[in-house]
């Protein structure tokens, strides 16, 4: 994206020209000349939607993204990456030759090894292995591309999450979703282009940093949909003010703004008028989005909406599908926390019980509606967990695992991704990647590629230089591509 061109788009005046193909401006000048009528119900308003769809760098495979971010680092060794080799050392320290370069957050390299107590079985035509904690996801094996060779630079949650969502450990950079909406805009006219949905216990480590627009204009920021109250802040009318009242007030606001526009001629006023009309449309689109009453019982059952345990996460998954149908570009579902330093067996199972079924339902539902081809699903976290035991030094607590950035598992499915394959390999103990290393930057480059964006060309000038999501790194991982 050419920075200068973009900057002009951001300059409101030309912004209207760009977005409305000049038409809006003509209509508005018409008004100013005093030759036109007082515009009725916004018919002469320009389309100011700043997220108007834009073409990428080349023909995309996927149009939209759903990123299921399992914050806190689910243990890949107990879900995706079976390591029978650990059995040999179970309960013992590893030889120091094997651990000399290991850097961990809380435990020392001489901690004891813990072979996963999970049972792994092969699934689908492709024979992809999953542990018994993920029966529903396992059922989708033939649609999934599993990456066992993920690597990151960060081993603490906050920096690690920022790394996964924005390509750096520092706050203040745009997140993946912001870059994508900056590059492509959004098909949705009445909903934000980039939405963050949260569930689970606690809040995501990096908070709003995970859906920040950083130095990009704030229109590209993820809009967090809330779990209680209005999904978007202040979306509902105030108590005592119904739609009729709101519309009547909006009409007065619009007409008075328009009178002022005729006088002052500032195109900003036209933008403001249009933003109010968009707000009003959002007010009706929001409740419509949240209204599941037209979903079939079978669909609700598929997601597990009616189940106490799965409901919150299932709601977000179903919302994600409905948003995809309504053209939202990027949906980030956050589910904290999988940070199982202790009690891993119990806590991991709990999170799997909450998320497994809705996750698989989302994949299947998208597929049966023909939406999977154009939607990229990404499942993963900021890093993985160690093959070593962590006890936090608290007697009586059961075992957990520490943070591990050198090898972890993620999976992708849908638009542009080659399904039914496992990419990458870790060593016998799951410490390091030995085949097809995929760094976070590479993952980002690949995601952008699926969307028709070339990661080296998606840049934004800030503080004197062109920034990009992948900084100076990143390579598209062709093995992942269909």
């Amino acid at each position: 994206m050419d920075f200068r061109k973009f900057h002009r788009i951001q300059t409101r005046r030309s912004f209207l020209d760009q977005c409305a193909g000049g038409l809006g401006t003509i209509a508005l000048w018409h008004l100013m000349e005093g030759e036109g009528r007082t515009a009725a119900a916004g018919e002469s308003l320009p389309d100011i939607n700043p997220l108007k769809p834009k073409a990428g760098h080349f023909t995309p495979k996927a149009k939209n993204v759903i990123f299921l971010f399992m914050e806190g680092a689910p243990s890949q060794l107990d879900l995706f990456d079976p390591k029978p080799g650990l059995g040999k050392y179970d309960g013992q320290s590893l030889p120091s030759s094997m651990t000399k370069d290991l850097k961990l957050a809380f435990i020392k390299p001489d901690a004891k090894v813990w072979a996963s107590p999970r049972v792994f079985t092969k699934h689908g035509q492709c024979g992809m292995e999953f542990s018994d904690y993920l029966p529903y996801t396992a059922d989708c094996a033939d649609d999934i591309c599993m990456i066992r060779s993920m690597v990151t630079d960060q081993f603490n949650h906050h920096p690690g999450q920022l790394m996964m969502t924005s390509g750096t450990n520092l706050l203040g950079r745009p997140s993946l979703g912001a870059w994508v909406t900056y590059g492509l805009g959004s098909e949705s006219k009445n909903l934000p282009g980039f939405v963050a949905l949260t569930s689970g216990a606690g809040s995501p480590g990096a908070g709003s940093g995970n859906w920040s627009s950083g130095f990009l204009p704030s229109v590209y920021q993820g809009v967090p949909f809330r779990n209680s109250g209005d999904p978007v802040l202040h979306l509902s009318n105030l108590s005592g003010i119904d739609v009729e009242d709101q519309r009547m007030t909006l009409d007065a606001i619009r007409d008075l703004n328009q009178q002022n526009f005729v006088r002052a001629g500032d195109i900003e006023i036209a933008s403001r008028i249009a933003s109010y009309e968009l707000a009003f449309r959002m007010q009706s689109a929001g409740p419509e989005l949240l209204d599941f009453s037209k979903e079939t019982p079978a669909t609700l059952e598929l997601y597990g909406i009616n189940n106490e345990v799965t409901r919150p996460f299932a709601t977000n998954c179903l919302l994600a599908r409905r948003m995809i149908e309504r053209g939202v570009r990027f949906i980030q579902i956050m589910h904290p926390t999988w940070d199982d330093h202790s009690d891993l067996n119990k806590k991991l199972k709990k999170n799997c019980d909450i998320t497994d079924r809705p996750t698989a339902a989302l994949l299947k539902d998208l597929k049966q509606r023909g939406l999977l081809d154009s939607t990229l699903l990404v499942w993963g976290s900021e890093f993985g967990r160690t093959p070593l035991i962590q006890t936090l030094g608290i007697a009586g607590e059961s075992w957990g695992r520490d943070h591990h950035p050198n090898a972890f598992t993620m999976w992708m499915a849908g638009g542009g991704i080659k399904p039914g394959q496992v990419v990458g390999k870790t060593d016998d103990l799951g410490f390091n990647v030995v085949e097809d290393r995929v760094h976070v930057h590479d993952l980002h480059a690949t995601i952008l590629h699926c969307l028709g964006l070339e990661h080296k060309r998606l840049t934004y000038r800030h503080m004197g230089r062109d920034f990009r999501l992948t900084d100076v790194e990143g390579q598209v991982v062709s093995k992942l591509l269909a």
């Binding site: 229109v219 005592g240 943070h403 230089r465």
Partner: protein
């Protein structure tokens, strides 16, 4: 071989090239077939008899030999067995392979290979060549490819074994250089630049203009001269209602009251406007308005950032200082030295030390398990980059990992600048406001006694002895007791000085130090109940205000270049210094933060005054002369009015860095006073209003959007300075949010507690910066979320309710009179006939609606004890108030 034997003078290069293309010298191992370096030279010498030709040969071979002949594996190629001649054997090689990156043009990694002294002094990562020891010389390791991830040269073919052997011989024989004395290396690139911003501003002559009557002060001459050149006439002066609202919003951030407007309209004295300017400049709200852009630059917030994002309960104390300093019109040079180095001033006062809180606004990561040193390094780097951006308008931060790509700032110079800040440490000062200490001292003994009793009840002292013992053991022998290792890490990351205190014998700890460590013990030692009770106890007693500040570290760490900006890979040590492209630091003062601060505001610094005036202009006109306020470097946008910028900069310095005097000059100019209406004739000539043939309408910043709503409705609490407030916000945005009570919640937007992870939604929605990095200019977006906020945020609805009541109480007359009053309150002007007509129509519609839906009256105006206010009337006028508070003009400076 035959081809070599066929060599004829003058054709050698060509033949060798052919030979190489033919692939005969395929590998170094094929030494029996191909001659090695020295044999080769002997062959050439024997047949060509010309030193010149041999140079050509070696040059050619260096560039053409295929990589198949390069060194593989861990072993270094053998040293060439010959007496090296620099001119013949080495110089061509250096020129060909090294000097494009490490020569006169650029010195990547701070290293150059074009003089002996430069070679021997090494680069950013230290010594590269050890004379007499090629095996231990990093240069050889790099060109031989010992380090697989970094091999030199980075581009082009690697060196051949022979070439490496030659370099080895050269080093082993003492790094001989031809004519070392006669050819001093050319100066480093960074010291020369013809870029306009690096030359000190000179006071330009006022240009001659035709329309001299338009000119009110020198600013106008510069603007008008340019307009006349383009054949554009300036706009007429804005009407008085617009002028007073513009001036009031620009200087105080608050709208004028209807009385103030009436007074100004009635003031027929010729200097009525100038009087108004003086009045606004002396308003105590001036400091509030102008503090905000400064807080943006300082990335001010009330919390740590990162995962824990702990609240900083005393961050506001520095903000308080800023507001007071601006209101007192502290000269900008003093404003600078006190904030960067107030602690180092002779006999520094408490307020001067409080001023150093500027650089305490960096983020702190307190996530368990992080490395404190990593994030301390980040803070130092942030302080360096922010100082560069705020005062110098330079993107110094770009030189963190490598030399600046565009500006003459090397990576080494970045760390030389960082060295000024690396020796500073964070401290918290007791900084009570007037009248705070008395009540504190009076009640303190009682508090201490109760606290002691509580600690005793839970046997804290005894348990803490054991805890400390374990932690000290863990510090000495990590890895033995994992629980204590973890606890020690928590002491490191959750407190700033805890580990230091832990290592002190208890009898040497101050009372404050003891409290810090005990509190940490209580927080992590499983004293849930005690913790709650202690917090409750502390709430009951007054506490002394503290101030986050910086001071010199008594044990200052050394500063190293960080290779690729990574704290784990330090390079050579550097001393504090300023970039060579700028004037030198005073040599008669120690290279301290204070000297740096004084250097920033010295007369011959070409940047500070320009950068500061550019930002001031940006506040008054929406954009500066330089459209990249944080970047005046080579990639900055060229100034629209370079002479005016220089005039302002020189004037600013000559005035004794008098900020208010400069603001006065700007707002008194005819340029500033122009109408902001767009003009059709400018549409194509100057669509972005760069030439200033009119004013620009500007949407108010987030805080002011709130302020005008509160001021108009009469809710505003105008108290200046002090603690941060927590106005109501929707549930679920942030975990804990204890709403401010009473009048506190109606204070201005700049006092809203800014929690980095969960910033106050209204601020975010209207483009307040995230406070993670220095922000030199805010966005001015227009989004539907803003509409939803103004329509439906209870804070703004409350303002509508209050405004309705105000209208009913202040104007008992008819509808039209009341509408007029509402317009004067909200927009500082009377409604135009068509506006009044539309508003009357709305009132009629609304009355009809409320008659149909009487139940909504109580909802929009819950019965409150309000004298003489009829709820139905209130509900009606709440509608009018909402319309006005949502008008584009309401949140815009005209």
């Amino acid at each position: 071989m035959t081809q070599i034997l066929d060599l004829q003078p003058g054709t050698a290069t060509m033949h060798i090239a052919m030979l190489v293309v033919g692939g005969r010298f395929a590998s170094a191992e094929g030494a029996n077939l191909a001659p090695n370096g020295s044999e080769w030279r002997q062959i050439v010498k024997k047949h060509c008899l010309s030193a010149l030709l041999s140079v050509a040969l070696i040059q050619s071979s260096a560039s053409r030999l295929t990589s198949a002949q390069t060194v593989e594996g861990e072993k270094l190629p053998p040293t060439a067995k010959l007496q090296v001649e620099f001119r013949r054997d080495i110089e061509p090689l250096l020129k060909e392979k090294c000097q494009s990156c490490h020569g006169a043009e650029q010195q990547l990694s701070g290293f150059r290979l074009d003089s002996r002294s430069a070679v021997l002094s090494g680069g950013n990562s230290g010594v590269v060549v050890k004379p007499g020891n090629s095996q231990g010389s990093r240069l050889i390791h790099l060109v031989a490819g010992l380090n697989k991830e970094l091999r030199m040269p980075m581009t082009g073919d690697p060196l051949t074994a022979e070439q490496v052997g030659l370099l080895r011989a050269w080093i082993d024989q003492g790094v001989l250089w031809q004519d070392e004395s006669s050819k001093p290396p050319s100066p480093m690139l960074s010291s020369k630049s013809k870029h306009w911003a690096f030359a000190p501003p000179q006071r330009p002559k006022q240009p001659k203009v035709k329309n001299t009557t338009w000119v009110r002060n020198p600013i106008d001459s510069f603007v008008l001269a340019r307009l006349e050149k383009e054949g554009i006439t300036p706009s007429a002066e804005a009407d008085r209602e617009t002028l007073i609202r513009r001036l009031s919003l620009d200087l105080t951030g608050l709208p004028p009251s209807p009385d103030q407007v009436a007074e100004f309209l009635a003031d027929k004295r010729p200097d009525a406007y100038e009087r108004l300017v003086d009045q606004s400049l002396s308003s105590p709200h001036y400091g509030e308005k102008w503090a905000r852009p400064w807080l943006d630059l300082a990335r001010y917030a009330d919390s740590d950032g990162y995962e824990e994002d702990r609240i900083r309960p005393h961050a506001w104390r520095w903000r308080h200082w800023v507001i007071e300093a601006l209101n007192r019109n502290m000269p900008f040079d003093q404003f600078t030295t006190e904030q960067l180095a107030g602690d180092l001033l002779p006999n520094a006062t408490l307020e001067q030390r409080v001023a150093t809180g500027f650089h305490r606004n960096t983020l702190t990561n307190r996530e368990g398990g992080v490395n404190r040193e990593e994030f301390r390094t980040e803070q130092v780097i942030d302080r360096t980059a922010t100082t560069g951006s705020v005062w110098l308008g330079l993107t110094l931060g770009c030189a963190r990992c490598h030399d600046h790509k565009y500006d003459p700032v090397s990576q080494k110079e970045f760390y030389q600048m960082a060295a000024f800040f690396n020796t500073a440490r964070e401290i918290d000062l007791e900084a009570p406001l007037p009248a705070e200490r008395g009540p504190f001292l009076q009640r303190q003994p009682e508090y201490e006694k109760k606290r002691a009793t509580l600690l005793e009840e839970f046997k804290v002292a005894e348990l803490q002895v054991d805890w400390e013992k374990k932690l000290r053991a863990a510090a000495a022998h990590p890895g033995v007791d994992l629980g204590s290792d973890y606890q020690l890490n928590l002491v490191q990351v959750k407190t700033d000085t805890g580990e230091e205190i832990l290592m002190l014998p208890p009898e040497k700890r101050t009372a404050k130090q003891k409290k810090i460590l005990t509190d940490q013990f209580i927080r992590t030692g499983g004293f849930k109940e005690l913790n709650t009770r202690l917090n409750a106890l502390a709430e009951e007693y007054p506490a002394l205000t503290e101030a986050p500040a910086i001071a010199e570290n008594p044990r200052p760490p050394k500063t190293h270049i960080l290779i690729r900006g990574n704290f784990l890979t330090p390079g050579i040590e550097v001393e504090p210094d300023t970039p060579a492209v700028l004037p030198r630091l005073r040599s008669d003062s120690p290279p301290s933060r204070l000297t740096l601060a004084r250097w920033l505001v010295s007369r011959d610094n070409p940047l500070t005054a320009r950068v500061t005036m550019n930002r001031a202009w940006q506040e008054f006109f929406g954009r500066g002369f330089v459209d990249t306020p944080q970047d005046f470097g080579l990639r900055s946008s060229p100034p629209t009015h370079p002479e005016l910028l220089d005039w302002l900069a020189v004037e600013f310095m000559s005035s004794g860095w008098n900020v208010k005097a400069m603001h006065k000059r700007i707002v008194e100019s005819a340029t500033y006073r122009q109408a902001s209406n767009t003009r059709k004739d400018l549409e194509s000539k100057d669509p972005d209003n760069k030439l200033l043939a009119r004013q620009t309408r500007l949407r108010l910043p987030a805080e002011l959007v709130r302020d005008v709503a509160l001021a108009t409705s009469g809710l505003l609490n105008p108290v200046i300075g002090g603690k941060s407030i927590r106005p109501p916000q929707p549930a679920g945005v942030v975990g804990k949010w204890k709403e401010s009570e009473g009048a506190e919640r109606y204070r201005r937007g700049l006092y809203i507690l800014f929690q980095r992870r969960y910033p106050y939604p209204e601020l975010v929605t209207f483009d307040a910066p995230d406070s993670l990095n220095s922000c030199p200019r805010r966005d001015r977006s227009t989004t539907p979320l803003q509409a939803l906020t103004l329509l439906n945020d209870p804070v703004f609805f409350e303002a509508s309710q209050a405004l309705a009541v105000r209208l009913l109480q202040e104007k008992a007359g008819g509808e039209e009179e009341r509408i007029e009053h509402a317009y004067r309150l909200c927009l500082g002007r009377a409604p135009r006939p068509e506006e009044k007509e539309r508003m009357v129509q709305y009132l009629r519609q609304r009355k009809e609606l409320l008659a149909r839906k009487p139940e909504s009256v109580e909802k929009v105006f819950p019965a409150k004890a309000l004298d003489g206010v009829d709820p139905a009337e209130a509900a009606l006028w709440i509608g009018v108030s909402r319309v006005l508070l949502n008008l584009e003009e309401f949140i815009t400076r005209g």
